[in-house]
Symmetry: C2
Subunit: 118 residues, 2 copies
């Protein structure tokens, strides 16, 4: 099953509530970029609250999503990163391409609103 | 895969982007009621934009979700019902327990905000 992408005003919301395998991560990347193009959304919030673990491949895909969306003109905020995920990311030396992060979905939307994406 | 439920302030958002089979509809019912209980969300928007078809069982489950959530104190708005789904519902004589409906996710959230659910 594909990860649903919700459109809310000029934002896209993605909530990852499964363990991301390589295939679904790549599928999400493809679907999200396509949806940004379709909807001309100015910002994306990807909520990782339910993501318990991460590996270097998934982290790379997430980082790529941030860079690619940025290139298309859409700003990505990652929210709800769990302690174990934060630990892994730092220990692996992965910086998620300097993605914006926030504590939860609401705060992520706020960040985008403050940068003028409504 | 379970259908993700997003919490946004005091609302829950559900976007159905798969063909709902009987099992996933019942799973959604169970997950959503549990999430309402956990989060004490005052309102729920279920977006059906991507639902192409509906049958009487799924319609009954959706109607039940509306009634059950109402009983728990959470108001449900169904949004984005497609023409074919609207036709089937009316032809089957199903009234979805007088659920609130709206044209899209944004309008659904607006309706809940106007009834005091933020």
């Amino acid at each position: 099953m594909r990860i649903p992408i919700l459109k809310l005003n000029n934002l896209l919301l993605v909530s990852i509530q499964i363990e991301l395998d390589d295939q679904s991560a790549l599928q999400l990347q493809e679907d999200l970029l396509e949806k940004i193009h379709q909807t001309t959304a100015g910002g994306v919030v990807i909520d990782l609250t339910s993501l318990d673990m991460i590996d270097s491949f998934i982290a790379k895909v997430l980082g790529d999503i941030v860079s690619m969306s940025g290139l298309m003109g859409s700003q990505v905020v990652l929210t709800g990163i769990q302690p174990a995920v934060a630990i892994t990311l730092i220990e692996l030396g992965i910086n998620l391409n300097e993605a914006n992060t926030a504590i939860d979905l609401e705060k992520g939307i706020q960040i985008l609103n403050q940068s003028g994406v409504q």
